[in-house]
Symmetry: C3
Subunit: 248 residues, 3 copies
């Protein structure tokens, strides 16, 4: 259902059973999949000369919450879910089942894998690369300029299953290894080895992730997290995790 107060271009390509809320604006260069829900006050497909002419593509089953802004030229796989007041610029390509929390700000020219979870108020700088199953917690910033301001732009790289805790900054060009954990309020200035916990300003290695004990009384290690945390992932993924990481 398209709200009568929404302004929707006749050139936009909107899938079946889409919902577009009150006071939304959908521009020409937009492709929305089936069963997409767009909450009020969203503007999708904002034009920019910085893009390449490609449309904003939002996969089927997606939910974009209110007051969000998406530019043309970015694409999202199925089942994107956003919080409120999200901004996404042009030329970012994201896989399926991405979650972007409230106040998220994705600057554009980023590559984002499948099943990535970004909590509230995450800032993903230009040219960042985020793998699959990555978790990014509130107020994390991925940077890109090693000596600002300059023309040099070196995006960060977060490998699969890595976790960046609240209020941490990843410096330009840094690679955070698979299944690693960056503690809260850290400044990550060097590459992080896989399965490693780092923390501090600047971040230093604390231990391997398997030293962290799950505080649910089980006495088991908290990482790799896919062993015990399954909420929101499809059954086939969880089954795959069981064979990869062992049962909970």
């Amino acid at each position: 259902m398209i709200s009568p107060t929404a302004i929707v271009s006749s050139k936009a390509n909107i899938g079946k059973d889409a919902e577009v809320g009150p006071f939304c604006i959908i521009h020409d260069n937009v492709v929305l999949g089936d069963h997409v829900r767009i909450q009020p006050y969203c503007e999708l497909g904002v034009e920019t000369k910085l893009s390449d002419g490609s449309p904003l593509v939002v996969g089927s089953g997606s939910l974009i919450r209110s007051h969000s802004t998406f530019y043309e030229g970015s694409s999202f796989g199925e089942s994107l879910v956003t919080g409120h007041q999200v901004t996404v610029r042009e030329l970012t390509k994201a896989g399926k089942n991405l979650q972007i929390g409230t106040l998220g700000d994705i600057e554009g020219h980023c590559i984002i894998g499948d099943y990535v979870r970004m909590h509230s108020n995450v800032h993903i700088g230009h040219y960042s690369t985020v793998g699959n199953f990555v978790w990014i917690f509130p107020y994390v910033v991925l940077t890109n300029d090693p000596h600002p301001p300059s023309k040099v732009q070196r995006g960060c790289f977060l490998e699969d299953y890595s976790v960046i805790a609240t209020m941490s900054v990843v410096l330009p060009g840094v690679r955070v290894g698979t299944h690693s954990l960056v503690g809260a309020h850290s400044l990550v200035s060097r590459d992080v080895a896989p399965h490693t916990v780092v923390a501090g300003v600047p971040a230093k290695k604390l231990c391997k992730t398997d030293k962290i004990v799950l505080q649910d009384g089980s006495g088991r290690p908290a990482y790799p997290w896919p062993r015990h945390f399954h909420r929101g992932y499809p059954d086939e993924i969880v089954e795959l995790w069981k064979s990869s990481f062992g049962p909970d």
Copy 2:
């Protein structure tokens, strides 16, 4: 006065002399007190399956500034004042005279006392408990997961009159004692004793709060702050403070 461009459910319960600004949306499950003012582009009473069916309740004399979003199932005492672009999820219960600054993000399932002051861009994670007369400054985050991501959720506890300065993170389950002060840009990983100043990453005890001298030329201690800071509090509270903490 209800703006003619606002979309207001006939099932919403709106007190007398309420003002609802242009382009607002008020859903069914909303109870607004008398003399409430809702600025433009606000959406109140957003439905969610994660709530318990209770309404959004906003006490009399409240002001919700523009571009804000409140879900059903949370309640606020009289004289709530928000900044712009605030998001409040379900099942939070707040006392009277709460202030939430611009870009504030309250995740839900929180308990908040009376006369709490949150500045801009504060993030209150699920299951946080905030006492009375607490001050929370910009970019503070209260967290809840000791080893993210997991199913374990341990909210923080900020006791009465505590003060958390800018850009500090409180780790899960930490209790910040009454009348204590967390310095700016700190990571609070352990409980903070009452009347104590902590700072750093991780935060360490610096001194008792009465060692901090008010920089107004008086030479008096800056804490307990209710001795000298009265702006925005009712006379009866200030009188009570005088008998509790001594005159300024």
Copy 3:
């Protein structure tokens, strides 16, 4: 062009060829220059008793992006450019060619020079002073209260050409010297000498800025940055820089 869904006061003074997007609200006490573009969902000239009756003035050629809020009583020179969801309170005076990134929050009573660049999610506290050609990166906060909460307000002072990197906090009354660089995730508690790099919590002097080598293969120093970074500045400024700082 004024959108038919915008609500524009007949008392507002709007220059020629202005564009006002859908669902905007322009109040009485607003002066917009020629060729100004206001994107959707913006509210300009919000009334406040805390101002002095002067209008919101936005210089010619400015672009205010969507979901932004400007109060009456502040003024901006020509060619202001904002991101989305910006909030600017009353009684701030800014020069020309200011950029305020998405989610920027300028509290009011600030003085801002010419050609200042604020990236996303910058918080400028009351009574801050920002010189010319200053760069402020994401999640930086300029504070003002030395012992919060109190009635004492000491704004920060950022001198010309200074650079504050991501997630840094400048404490009240601190002066950051010309051409200096504050590293990411720092807490600046003391004045910073000109041409100096500081970093850490609290920030300490690391070196002079000319020790930082530009990572573009040239082997030249990265600072003063106007020697190599010219994007977005007018030719006459760049020519002036060449004579002041030497050619790139």
